[in-house]
Symmetry: C2
């Protein structure tokens, strides 16, 4: 089973508008509301592709209740820890005229040290049944910067590999816990490492301890770097739609690949195809089967030999 | 006691951002959340000025619980009717660089006929202790277009005057129930009556049955028209800030004037001063005492004699 951890789970609200007009009032005929946060999206994609998954993390308040209720409705297995604070909301305004998605992401509830300790105990129970752990997204206020690192270390004591998708100091700390894979996007990697290029940035995270670094490049696909190899995997063409959620579909594929022990080339083909399949869908966590099937055999995979000489 | 009725009460959420950038993600450090809806704002202003007030209307779900909780905290007396649906939220994004307020207003919960009947019974109990009824804002889906009209008629059977602040067909229907005052803003009056000018539009609402029409004109103050008289009342100068809530402060003053039986010139001076006092405040329902005191004696009141010849 793949255990996804979302410490800053969210209730994702989408407001469709004809046009986004600053300094005016917009009437919202119908809001779309669903459970979100990166790890929840990963769980949704895994569930869609029939992979065994359990979603955990922290939820609280009425938004937390709504998150649990939505996951029940979607048939996604979950076991979250309750906290006193109110889970955050995100509001995304999608304009029909431009296709623009303008997001407002609340920061999240304050989590107490006692709540974090309770979660670690809860995690220790859940991880025993897991084969892969996925840690995704931002940390809510109050949590230590090495929160994901601590989870990776605990998983490791059971011999269970982890994938971490986060940014900034939490990403660096997680890399030091020797996770199987870290998956920043290119913007996050540049901001976190301040390296001159993506390969150098990935090299820094490998040096910190990560076993592999997969950098998502938006429409250009993925750059994957291990201690022995590097690949670039590209989709065969542009797909129009909403890229939100493509990174989570990529992480879902990497987790699935770890679970089945697939080879890197296969794992990266799947990651690009699942990411591409997320783009035509308006909401994060959804994937389009037809796009996935059309993409899979046409992903362009290139082994980057030049990378070896950089070491 | 002034009874304010908010059939489409809301949980008003404000997101402060440095700048509103379409098609990007905004991190919200701290959201401001409070009970809202026009009638709730009117109650808040009346409470501020020490007027006896009770807020009623329809609330439901977790937003409804949050609305009640916020009113408790603010010390505003309330007695709402519960409904099965979830009260709406409004989200207003306030940009620090431009001062722009960009609002996203959910439409509101579906109210059943049975819930509406229950509310009418509830209203019949509350109205016996009221001296003035204020009906404010949009109608949630499911309510008849003459919902506010029905409340005005019921108040009238007890000899209690009503003020109605709404727009469109609900405003026309309410005018036919002979309320003491209707208070559209100039945009709502034009859209509702399609009259060539504001005086003609106000004349239409008088012809429908309203005893007085007060049209709020933003920074230009108010136009007030009765069957015998017309006045324009202007603030002495521009006030910078957020005009949201100025209309509700105006309605609060009109209700207070009806309660005490003040003369129209006095009532309009107060209405302009309270409206002006709402502008410097970032959240609807708040008023600035210093602005109010500075404004009151300097409101420019003009009786419009020309109006008589139009009849």
């Amino acid at each position: 089973m793949i255990l996804t951890v979302t410490l800053n789970a969210a209730l994702d609200v989408t407001y469709p508008v004809a046009s986004l007009v600053p300094d005016s009032a917009h009437q919202i005929e119908r809001a779309h509301v669903r459970a979100g946060g990166k790890g929840v999206n990963v769980a949704r994609v895994l569930e869609h592709f029939g992979q065994p998954v359990l979603a955990t993390g922290l939820v609280g308040g009425t938004s937390g209740a709504a998150i649990r209720h939505d996951l029940d409705g979607a048939g996604i297995r979950h076991h979250f820890c309750g906290i006193a604070g109110e889970s955050r909301r995100t509001v995304t305004v999608v304009a029909a005229d431009t296709g623009d998605a303008t997001a407002f992401n609340e920061r999240g509830p304050l989590v107490s040290i006692a709540e974090w300790r309770d979660f670690l105990e809860h995690f220790d129970h859940l991880v025993r049944d897991a084969s892969v752990v996925v840690c995704s997204g931002s940390l809510p206020p109050g949590l230590p910067v090495d929160a994901y690192a601590e989870l990776c270390r605990r998983a490791r004591t059971h011999g269970i590999p982890s994938i971490v998708d986060t940014a900034g100091p939490a990403l660096v700390a997680a890399a030091e816990a020797a996770p199987a894979t870290v998956k920043p996007n290119s913007v996050e990697l540049r901001a976190t490492t301040r390296a001159p290029d993506l390969r150098a940035g990935a090299g820094q995270l490998l040096a910190h301890g990560a076993e592999a670094v997969v950098v998502s490049l938006g429409p250009d696909g993925l750059l994957a770097v291990t201690h022995d190899n590097a690949w670039q995997a590209r989709p065969p063409g542009r797909i129009s739609g909403n890229p939100t959620g493509a990174g989570d579909a990529c992480v879902a594929a990497l987790a699935s690949g770890l679970l089945t022990g697939s080879e890197w080339p296969d794992r990266l083909r799947t990651a690009v195809a699942w990411s591409a399949a997320a783009v035509p869908m308006p909401y994060a966590g959804d994937v389009d089967d037809e796009t996935y099937r059309r993409m899979f055999d046409r992903v362009q995979l290139e082994e980057i030999h030049a990378f070896h000489s950089d070491r």
